[in-house]
């Protein structure tokens, strides 16, 4: 019986505050906007009894979803978000792998310090760090000042308010999420495997390619999921560093909710985003489960 109570508390909490809200989002995505409080119809009125329930369901429709499919903005935003997320993940992998690899090859005494150095930015406000890039990438920003003073360029580069700035911002912010799982996988690698490979005739590079890289796959997968999935729905970075042509679905959702006060459409956007992400999320969870079983 005690076991039941132990399971029940977090279970009910998560059901109530994680699962149920999604159901509500689904319901509202099937509702219509109204100039009312709350700004949607129909509202569920249980006092009406069974008839009320049926009337309620009758009023639900897929109007919002149809609307989303008709207006170009939305499906373009989804595609753009997926594209940006994919590119950012790859960039984060390219930037993060050498860092994680370097850390795993560093002398043992350095490791705790290096780990601390990677984690420290993570503990610092991410908003502030993204904001810092605004100062760096602006027309009059540090990067342009530096490049011009050194003589590499004559006119300031326009980086801020473009997709490039968004990529830089995303890679910067999500780097610890890529580096830590990679480092964890690389650190666990048995050094004698590489020595065996070299003993059998591999060059340093092919030993890396044939042994290290494949064995670090769990880390690559974990890190990639930890970056890709949240970036698809990212709002702050594109809003702060991107331009008017940076289409990301997170921004679209935000604008629908806060600017247009259109909760039903915002909900519909969220539902479709969830539907797109459900497969990667399930794959991520499965990978996590597998990893934990392998270690436990």
């Amino acid at each position: 019986m005690r076991r039941f109570a132990l399971i029940a508390v977090p279970y009910l909490w998560l059901l109530a505050l994680f699962l149920v809200p999604f159901v509500i989002v689904l319901k509202i995505s099937l509702s219509d906007t109204a100039l009312a409080i709350p700004p949607y119809v129909p509202t569920l009125d249980l006092s009406e009894g069974w008839d009320g329930l049926r009337a309620f369901f009758a009023e639900l429709d897929f109007e919002n979803f149809v609307f989303l499919s008709e207006d170009d903005l939305y499906w373009k935003a989804y595609l753009s978000s997926l594209r940006i997320a994919l590119v950012s993940t790859i960039l984060a992998l390219i930037v993060g792998y050498p860092i994680a690899y370097g850390m795993s090859r560093a002398p043992d005494e350095w490791r705790p310090t290096l780990l601390m150095l990677v984690i420290l930015p993570f503990w610092t406000s991410f908003l502030i760090r993204v904001y810092a890039w605004k100062a760096i990438l602006a027309q009059e920003g540090f990067l342009n000042q530096f490049l011009m003073s050194v003589g590499v360029i004559a006119d300031p580069l326009t980086i801020l308010n473009t997709n490039t700035a968004v990529y830089i911002g995303i890679v910067y912010t999500y780097l610890p999420f890529m580096v830590l799982p990679l480092y964890s996988a690389l650190e666990r690698l048995d050094g004698s495997l590489l020595e065996a490979a070299e003993d059998l005739g591999c060059s340093r590079f092919s030993a890396f390619w044939l042994v290290t890289l494949p064995l670090s796959r769990p880390g690559i997968i974990a890190g990639s999921f930890l970056v890709f999935i949240p970036v698809v729905g990212e709002y702050v970075i594109p809003a702060l560093l991107g331009g008017s042509d940076t289409l990301m679905i997170g921004k679209v959702l935000w604008d629908e909710f806060f600017a247009n006060r259109d909760w039903p459409v915002a909900s519909a956007v969220a539902i479709i985003l969830l539907a797109i992400l459900i497969i990667p999320i399930v794959l991520f969870l499965r990978n996590e489960e597998k990893q934990r079983e392998a270690e436990g």
Binding site: R105, I128, K134, L240, P280
Partner: protein, 270 residues
């Protein structure tokens, strides 16, 4: 010990430079007397002064601290329970769903979490406020706590609990007197992690906030939307400073504790 190859040294140097340069620039330029942030005009601490006179900022900081403290404590309790269920409860109907719900917030985009929680709270609470943000933050933080605590639980030596039972403890006593004190560091890490996540959150807070409950990230956001501001630089530097001091001191303390332990173990005669 092995020395790092030039490749590794270069990647580490560039990597960490990339990570730290923006923060360093921020701190340096917070002492810039020029309002135009990117043009250096001389050393000045005026922006720090202005910051501390800014009532809105100070209020927001206080709100943020309250929310962070309450939500992390709640998240630690819930997350620890979730970790116990995941590691110890074995198979039960609905376990897959539970595992999914416990880990999904790790990757779920903030906008979805924010919207869904708002729509849940709206009919339930007449007014949103600190309480709604606290509940929201606790919900997504608990999964981070669950990750930290469950990885500690997995390596926990069960025979310690069996020994406690053997010596007369009920299962609850064994947990309270033996397991809990030993996994406490993981709980503390989880708490600190939740605290940071709460301090830092913009999107979910914006969705679930109410009158009088404006958090610091929200204030910062409204300031930076318009552009770079020297006051924000000062605020950023303060936050960076606090975190740096915190992280370095915990790192040093744990290093010293480990060394002390090694020395003690070596001193024990066989």
């Amino acid at each position: 010990m092995r020395r790092l190859s030039w490749f590794n040294t270069t990647s580490l140097t560039f990597g960490f430079a990339f990570l730290y340069l923006p923060m360093v620039l921020l701190v340096v330029y917070s002492f810039n007397s020029n309002k135009l942030v990117t043009v250096w005009a001389g050393f000045s601490t005026q922006w720090y002064g202005e910051l501390f006179r800014n009532e809105l900022m100070l209020d927001a900081a206080w709100v943020t601290l309250q929310v962070a403290f309450l939500s992390s404590t709640l998240a630690t309790v819930l997350g620890t329970l979730a970790a116990l269920v995941l590691v110890r409860a074995g198979r039960f109907p609905g376990r897959t769903l539970f595992g999914g719900m416990a880990y999904a917030p790790l990757v779920m985009p903030d906008v979805i979490l924010g919207l869904s929680l708002f729509l849940l709270f709206k009919p339930v609470f007449s007014q949103m406020g600190i309480h709604s943000i606290v509940l929201a933050h606790a919900t997504f933080s608990m999964c981070y706590v669950a990750v930290v605590v469950s990885s500690r639980l997995v390596t926990f030596d069960r025979s310690l609990e069996e020994a406690a039972l053997d010596l007369g403890c009920t299962p609850l006593e064994a947990f309270r007197l033996v397991t809990l004190p030993i996994i406490a560091p993981a709980l503390i890490s989880g708490w600190l992690l939740s605290f940071t996540l709460s301090l830092d959150d913009l999107v979910i807070a914006t969705f679930t906030t109410g009158p009088g409950a404006t958090t610091l990230p929200m204030r910062i956001w409204s300031a930076v939307r318009l552009g770079v501001s020297p006051e924000i630089n000062a605020l950023s530097s303060i936050l960076i400073g606090i975190v740096t001091v915190g992280v370095i001191s915990t790192s040093l303390m744990s290093k010293r504790a480990i060394l002390k332990r090694i020395r003690e173990e070596n001193r024990a005669e066989p």
